[in-house]
Amino acid sequence: MSDTVTTRETAATVRDDSQSTSSNVIYALIEGKYWAYLLLIPSLILVTAVVVYPVISGIWLSFHEYRLNRPALGRPWIGLEHYRDMLSDKTIRIALKNTLIWVTVGSISQFILGMITALALHRSLKGFRIAAVLVLIPWLLPSVVSANMWRLMLDSRLGVINELLSRIGVLERGHAWFTNPSTALYEVLVVELWKNFAFFTLFFLAGLYAIPSEYYEASSVDGSGTFQRFRDITIPMLMPVIVGATILRVIGLFNSPDILLVLTGGGPGNATQTIALYGFQTAYLRFDFGYAAALSVLALFCLMAFTVVYVRASGVTKE
């Protein structure tokens, strides 16, 4: 990538000479070499105000005691106190374990269903265009509505799923979902799967269409089977899409507590508590902004570590 200004600039600079000096400044801005930067200024101001400044002040806040419900306390500097507290915080250990399950099981299950759906849709039979659109809809729905749709279907007395499952004898009547600590997280993961598998489908389908069909024709001449073709052509050709989509989905899973917030609120007990949810609730329910900021910094390190390791391991380097 070159840092030189494009040749299109020359025409403007030549015309510059005929202008008077007063309008020269404006002319240089609009037609000269600063034009590209000028266009970026509004976005840079906005991003500095709503991203850069908050991130820095958030990290700064994590070294302070700041409780919203106790304004008399002020905002004293306490150094690494919050980070020391984290070491003995039992909830963090549960939340880290749950986050690991949430992200791993969530991304793998969504990946698999997303891939199967994309491979099926790629056969482009009649009606598959509209099917692809329908499949994408859950992904576009607000999590509040999605979660409550499932809560309605999984209601212990009135839910349609309990009705069906108890009729065929799989489930006893009145089974209450999301209440068993050892399965609640996986039950929410089913809702999460429904909501977000189509994200992978979207990317994989577009990736599949981008593979030239000659590749497949050549390999079918060689007499290789369907599985071999999938392994030798589809997967390697899809690799950049796979890496990109997986990173985005893992970040999404890690960062979004809304489905959990609506369905379980982290309960029963702390059985479905994750780092993102814990950070949010520390601020929203306990008003302990300093500790919540420290938890966010921990989350930031987790995400950075994952991205670096994953990009290195997959061998795909971006641009």
Partner: protein, 305 residues
């Protein structure tokens, strides 16, 4: 696949090549294809049922009477198209005000993201300046920040500026995650427009701004429309930030109101379903309009990077 006999041109005298049966058994190949088509059709039908089932069930529930919903004998279909739930929602729940708040916040978010994002994306797409690739990666990395790391300082910032619980304040915080997305998507659309046309208009004496407004924007209108819808959906759906940054008397948006209604009315499933359906209608309509351009834009914004 097969070589046809309808050949013309300089090679028309060459006899068509018959595929040798030994290495290309067309019959069995066709049977295998057919088998996979059947498998694909079954998979697609099942996945569509899985994806649409909860939505269809919610639509059905929204037309049921409270009696039908709680009755001991299970009701599958509503007996009649009963719109009582929608009436209750509209007249007695304060929901219209929440929808209005959401519409204002969404409008402000779209306005800021699209105007600021368009000029930034155009610059990144057309010019090779110092720090360009760094800037693009920076816009990608923003998505990686844990949302609470931004949310907590933004809460404090909005309070200090007197923007807490205001439409503009909430919209401003939404640009943190929507502006970067907007820049990436729009850059993809601008990349797809050849620069020749702008150059031609520049030769004709048009200014750069003139070329952008008169040539590039009209050509990119589909992409801009798709990006607008995607940004609007993001702002319209947002729940967690609005929960912390708004109150009942101010700019509270519909997702927060809906979730609080769950406790307030002790599960009026009919009304809840109706409010869910009302709120997602704009999303479905918007998506239906820009569907094709949106899908290609998401690809350009998310993967090509």
């Amino acid at each position: 696949m097969s070589v046809t006999a309808e050949q013309t041109g300089p090679f028309s005298h060459v006899p068509a090549i018959e595929p040798a049966k030994s290495w290309m058994p067309f019959g069995s190949l066709r049977r295998i294809r057919r088998f996979y088509d059947v498998v694909a059709a079954i998979v697609v039908v099942l996945v569509v049922l899985f994806a649409m089932g909860p939505i269809v069930w919610t639509v059905l529930t929204s037309f049921k009477t409270e009696g039908e919903i709680v009755s001991r004998s299970f009701t599958w279909l509503p007996k009649s198209l009963n719109i009582e739930n929608y009436q209750t929602l509209w007249e007695r729940s304060g929901y219209p005000r929440l929808l209005r708040n959401s519409a204002i916040v969404t409008g402000l978010t779209v306005l800021m993201s699209i105007t600021i994002g368009t000029v930034a994306a155009y610059s990144i797409s057309r010019y090779r300046f110092r720090g360009r690739s760094g800037l693009m990666i920076f816009y990608l990395v923003i998505r990686m920040f844990p949302f609470t790391l931004l949310l907590i300082p933004l809460f404090i910032m909005l309070r200090n500026l007197g923007l807490f619980d205001s439409h503009f304040g909430l919209a401003l915080t939404y640009t943190t995650f929507l502006l970067p997305l907007c820049v990436w998507m729009l850059k993809g659309f601008f990349d797809g427009i050849p620069p020749d046309l702008e150059e031609a208009s520049r030769v004709d004496g048009s200014t750069r701004l003139g070329a952008l407004v008169r040539i590039v924007l009209p050509l990119a209108r589909q992409g801009i429309a798709a990006t607008t819808v995607f940004i609007a959906i993001g702002a319209w759906n947002e729940y967690v930030w609005a929960l912390l940054l708004t109150t009942a008397n101010g700019a509270r948006t519909w997702p927060v109101g809906l979730q609080l209604m769950v406790g307030e009315f002790q599960m009026p499933w009919g009304v809840l379903s109706a409010s869910g359906i009302i709120s997602i209608i704009p999303i479905i309509i918007g998506f239906a309009i820009v569907q094709r351009a949106l899908v290609s834009g998401l690809m350009a914004g998310g993967v090509k990077g």
